[in-house]
């Protein structure tokens, strides 16, 4: 029907400019758009502002590679494969990055407000915590609250005028340039079908000015439209699409493949220092493209992660237990 939305992985990374604000699909170690994250690192993208409902390994890669100036979120780590985000932690200690902390529900409600076209959300979470410590407004301290792409205030308090329900936290909708989504299926016209939990994907896509969808497979649009009630993101919210099998590796994808726990543990163990990160990036990112990355991972590893289609996860995957 319409002009093709297909682009290549390289072109997709080029949509992201130095200084762009970015968000991603997925949840902690699930459905993160890794192939594109690697390509951004190869292309040496700089000064990114990540605004995420929650972070994960992809945050750690981008931060470790020096792509990120501002990280606005609530959590980063590798779940049971690495306790915290060691690259972010190192950059915070060295004052090489600005971190703006919200709570998880605050980030979710901020995106829900943005997706609804509202200027801000109203909530009663996290009252009394240091998340609302006025000294800890890091974007304010850095003089970056211009009221254009970054809100004038981190948050405001207001009393509920309708029911006298007490102090409300008003939290600004984020302004996001680009959302990069990693999903199971996208149609030729952009319709997205996510299988399993959709996390905060619908809100991420609707919030961003530009949405790029990386899918395990591009399927005929008409196939998805036969069951409109199980699709996740409508066609017109998607600007670019690309097919990229295993594009979420080392994170997992419901119904397709599990998290590569060993890869993440190795990353976590080896990237406590910048030198460690640089070595890891040399081995796994630079000089490779997506196919040579998969070849380097090898068939036995990827077959071991492959999900059983009845279970939607891999009963074979070593879970990297304690």
């Amino acid at each position: 029907m319409s002009d093709s939305k297909r682009i290549t992985l390289q072109q997709a990374a080029e949509v992201v400019k130095n200084g762009s604000s970015l968000t991603f699909s997925g949840f902690t170690i699930w459905r993160r758009p890794f192939a594109l994250v690697f390509e951004l690192i190869r292309q040496q993208r700089r000064n990114l502002h990540l605004i995420e409902v929650n972070g994960g390994p992809h945050t750690e890669f981008l931060v470790g590679a020096g792509c990120v100036d501002i990280w606005e979120s609530c959590w980063v780590g590798h779940e049971l494969y690495g306790k915290y985000g060691a690259n972010l932690s190192r950059k915070v200690a060295n004052r090489e990055i600005i971190v703006e902390d919200y709570s998880h529900a605050e980030m979710m409600f901020r995106f829900a407000a943005a997706a609804q076209g509202a200027a801000y959300a109203v909530t009663q979470t996290s009252l009394g915590t240091d998340i609302h410590n006025p000294e800890y407004d890091m974007l304010g301290r850095a003089g970056l609250r211009d009221g254009k792409r970054i809100a004038k205030h981190k948050y405001l308090f207001a009393d509920d005028p309708f029911y006298g329900a007490g102090s409300q936290v008003l939290i600004p909708a984020p302004k996001v340039d680009i959302a990069v989504m990693c999903v199971q299926q996208v149609g030729e016209e952009g319709t997205v079908r996510v299988n399993g939990q959709y996390y905060s994907d619908p809100e991420a896509a609707r919030t961003a000015d530009i949405t790029i969808v990386m899918a395990e497979e591009i399927v005929p649009e008409e196939y998805l439209r036969r069951n409109a009630d199980i699709n996740t993101i409508p066609s017109f919210e998607v600007d670019y699409i690309l097919e990229c099998p295993f594009g979420a590796h080392p994170t997992g994808m419901f119904g397709r493949y599990d998290v590569d726990g060993a890869f993440l543990k190795d990353f976590y163990a080896r990237t406590r220092t910048q030198e460690g990160f640089d070595d890891f990036a040399k081995a796994w990112i630079h000089g490779l493209d997506h196919i040579s990355y998969l070849e380097k991972l090898g068939w036995p590893r990827m077959l071991g992660l492959k999900a059983n289609t009845a279970l939607n996860y891999s009963p074979r995957a070593t879970k990297g237990g304690k």
Binding site: Y102, P134, G166, Q197
Partner: protein, 272 residues
């Protein structure tokens, strides 16, 4: 009569898991995070609380995973669920007031049950940046009760945490930051707060009036005085009820054979 296990048959993780499991009543709606809380609540589901409803943060509602998910984003969370969706659903349900109990963890806890998962040291000049809040403050704000499961080290049990990530019974009133009872801040959203801390040393609860922590039970082999020595604040040990109830053999069987056979979260105790 329950068939309690002997001391050499269980580890600390088993004890914590069973103690945590006993905090929930049947039919309650529970919000649980990744790790030990997940094992504890699924243990309850398979023992005394078959009708509890389990909510995972990433978006599965009333799930019945046959084995332990590796994280709340895992495909296993969705098995047997009433609805699978996303975070907006999970947090909306929580803020709407459906959640009876939340299971959480923390790096530091203070005498008022304030928990820190954000940084060690000063926030503006941290010794170590940690994961950040995640849903800890949210679940703790929205649930009627919360239970924290923690490693007990003296450096982790402090008079005041350096950063309040998750609100306890006395919290900071901004912009000044003076400590006030959480009831004062939460208004109509006030539903309760931390009801227990289960550490590797004992089980702790909070005084209704002062909001200060007191020792409820000691884990086997620990005395109240020893536990007081493991806190930087002056722990009230005047109300100790005795020893923490130990795991039963049936609970251990469920943990190790059904829920976590691969020792993802709870190691097996090698005997003799």
């Amino acid at each position: 009569m329950s068939d309690y296990a002997k001391a050499e048959e269980f580890g600390l993780a088993d004890l914590l898991c069973c103690a945590a499991s006993r905090e929930v009543a049947d039919n309650e709606i529970v919000f649980a995070g990744t790790g030990l809380p997940m094992v504890a609540i699924m243990l309850a589901q398979k023992t005394h609380a078959p009708n509890l409803k389990l909510i995972f943060e990433a978006g599965t509602l009333d799930g019945r995973p046959p084995e332990i998910p590796t994280s709340v984003g895992d495909a296993r969370c969705e098995m047997g669920a009433s609805r699978s969706s996303g975070l907006s659903d999970a947090f909306s349900i929580a803020q709407r007031g459906y959640v009876d109990l939340g299971y959480l963890g923390g790096a530091e806890v203070d005498v008022y049950g304030n928990v820190n998962t954000t940084c060690i040291g000063e926030y503006l000049n941290p010794e170590l940046r940690l994961t950040g809040s995640g849903g800890n403050p949210d679940i703790n704000s929205f649930a009627k009760r919360t239970v924290f499961i923690m490693v007990h080290e003296k450096r982790r049990f402090v008079e005041n945490v350096s950063y309040i990530t998750s609100p306890g019974w006395r919290v900071k009133k901004w912009p000044g930051g003076e400590l006030v009872h959480r009831r004062e801040l939460y208004g109509a959203a006030y539903r309760g707060g931390p009801s227990a801390v289960i550490s590797t040393a004992g089980v702790f609860r909070f005084d209704d009036q002062s909001g200060r922590m007191f020792l409820d039970t000691c884990h086997p082999g620990k005395t109240a005085e020893e536990i007081r020595e493991m806190c930087q604040f002056d722990l009230d040990i005047s109300r100790v009820k005795g020893e923490t109830e130990v795991p039963t053999r049936e609970e251990l069987r469920i943990i190790h054979e059904v829920l976590d056979p691969h020792e993802i979260f709870i190691p097996k105790i090698k005997q003799g």
